[in-house]
């Protein structure tokens, strides 16, 4: 019974922990501009992250080694360094966006400018990583993040479910947009669901919590149930924007505009719950990205990382985290637009992924590490398909960014 409770708690936390600022921005923007015609991009991303998160969790559990350790071992020092630099940079952009995002939600709640909140948010993010136990931290923000279900409630209240499904299943490009822009936003949605930090955090977490074969069930429940339901929250945000913002020609340039659909349907109470949910979700993602930066650098160099040892026993790991948070706060304080930072981070995400996912796929097939838990033929076929897709996206992203002027 305790086990069942634990699994359901973790799975619920996985739903709330899935959404971050990238998902909110990408889904509101595309909903407002493309209605539901790009829903497939998000669905494709969620399937991809489910596939590779499960694989990385299984690999970490059986080999006791997190993803970036394996990246270094299989790709060698030089290629792994290229991956480290790219992943760390994108992760840093995401960290900046999440910290600034929390500050914006505080501005929406208090009326005090978000720039004044950034130092305080950064301090809280750092302090949580410094002091709070991993398992507690992960569950608290995951469960509180469930407040975002308010977006689903709002969509159901509109009673337009058939419109959403019809538009989402009918692949077409709105006549007001051209093909490059259409695909650029598809990449944004895809990248928002598949941000690199997710597998770094997930696999390092599995090692931190000392997962064994018995925990593989928890791994599957989290990923197969938690992630798709988290993805459903993102789709609800897109649907809200498609139904209420698109017809009025409102585009999403600020986080407050992403809150319009819920406010319209559910009033002030709905808005309050949504702002709370967004703040928690961004805060949780700031923790995940902050830790991920420390994880990947430490794992590349072989430094002691893990959160469950005292900070003095993992000083370089904590140094990376501290410096990242300070720099992210400083970057946020330059008045750089949080929404723009988010857009760049998610679009570049997909491009950085092949060098991380390739070693996972290889190790997941190695019986020396995995014993009888190697990939099924189905996972391999799908895994290979995603690797090809990600490589194609990696090549297409920068040219598309230039042609479309970053989706302008």
């Amino acid at each position: 019974m305790r086990k069942v409770l634990e699994v359901s708690l973790e799975t619920l936390a996985a739903i709330g922990g899935f959404v971050d600022i990238g998902d909110i921005v990408a889904n509101s923007e595309t909903g407002a501009r493309f209605r539901m015609s790009l829903a497939w991009g998000g669905v494709l991303g969620v399937i991809g992250i489910v596939l590779y998160a499960e694989m990385s969790g299984r690999v970490a559990t059986l080999s006791h080694r997190p993803v970036f350790d394996l990246v270094r071992e299989r790709l060698g020092a030089r290629v792994a360094l290229v991956n480290l630099v790219a992943s760390f940079f994108i992760n840093f952009l995401t960290l900046t966006a999440e910290i600034a995002g929390v500050a914006v939600t505080l501005q929406l709640a208090s009326g005090i400018n978000y720039l004044a909140w950034i130092p305080l948010v950064a301090l809280m993010v750092w302090f949580t990583m410094w002091r709070v136990k991993f398992s507690v931290m992960e569950k608290v923000y995951g469960l509180l993040g469930l407040a975002l279900i308010v977006t689903v409630v709002a969509v159901f209240r509109l009673h337009e479910f058939h419109t959403i499904v019809r538009e989402a299943t009918n692949l077409h490009r709105p006549s007001t947009e051209d093909w490059p822009t259409y695909f650029y936003f598809a990449i944004a949605l895809f990248g928002a669901a598949m941000t690199p930090y997710e597998v770094f955090f997930f696999s390092s977490g599995a090692v931190e919590e000392g997962w064994t074969r018995k925990d593989l069930m928890v791994n599957r429940a989290n990923v197969y149930i938690g992630f798709p339901l988290g993805g459903a929250l993102s789709l609800a945000i897109m649907a809200g924007a498609a139904l209420l913002l698109a017809p009025r020609g409102i585009s999403v340039d600020h986080l407050s505009q992403a809150a319009i659909p819920v406010t319209f349907v559910l009033g002030k109470l709905g808005l309050g719950i949504l702002i709370f949910g967004m703040g928690i979700a961004f805060f949780g993602a700031a923790l995940e990205t902050g830790l991920s930066g420390g994880y990947i650098v430490s794992q590349f160099f072989g430094w002691q990382w893990e959160k469950f040892v005292k900070p003095v026993d993992a000083p370089r790991f904590h140094l990376v985290i501290l410096v990242s948070v300070i720099l992210a706060a400083a970057f946020g304080l330059t008045t750089v637009d949080p929404v723009k930072v988010t857009e760049y981070s998610i679009v570049l995400s997909a491009a950085a992924l092949p060098l991380t996912y390739f070693p996972i796929l290889i190790i997941a097939n190695d019986p020396e590490y995995m014993g009888d838990k190697t990939n099924s033929k189905f996972s391999n076929a799908l895994g290979f398909f995603y690797l090809v897709l990600l490589t194609a996206i990696a090549i297409a992203t920068i040219p598309l960014m230039i042609i479309t002027k970053a989706g302008a």
Partner: protein
């Protein structure tokens, strides 16, 4: 040692880039490179040491990033011409998922930067020892 001697291991795959774990189970760097010595009496070269840390990694990276890391290592190291940090291969206890050694990481030359960060930065923040 016998454990190591009995098994055939591929140095490139089973040793290089692996995590080093000290006698207390702490992570103590990666196997960044290996020191090979040709025995005086002839025969194939044998592994005499694990080379770890930036000094060893720089030579693996090569090119500009390697040269940059090498100069950083030389500049920050107290001795005039520091080579890469060595861990004699005799202290290797087991080669499995990780490379386990029989000494503490605090006795290793590769832990120099870690000690500095502990003493001057992280150790000074309240709560670092809890």
């Amino acid at each position: 040692m016998t454990d190591v001697a009995k098994r055939v291991i591929d140095a490139g795959l089973n040793l290089l880039d692996r995590q080093i774990i000290d006698k207390d189970g702490m992570m103590s760097g990666n196997v960044d490179d290996l020191e090979l010595t040709v025995p005086e009496e002839g025969g194939p070269p044998v592994i005499t040491a694990i080379l770890a840390g930036p000094g060893a990694l720089a030579r693996r990276l090569g090119a500009r990033s390697g040269a940059w890391l090498e100069s950083l290592h030389v500049r920050l190291h107290p001795s005039e011409q520091p080579g890469p940090a060595r861990i004699a291969f005799g202290v290797v206890k087991r080669v499995a998922d990780h490379v386990e050694i029989t000494v503490s990481r605090s006795d290793l030359d590769v832990s120099r930067f870690e000690k500095w960060v502990r003493k001057h930065v992280i150790g000074k923040i309240p709560g670092a020892r809890a």
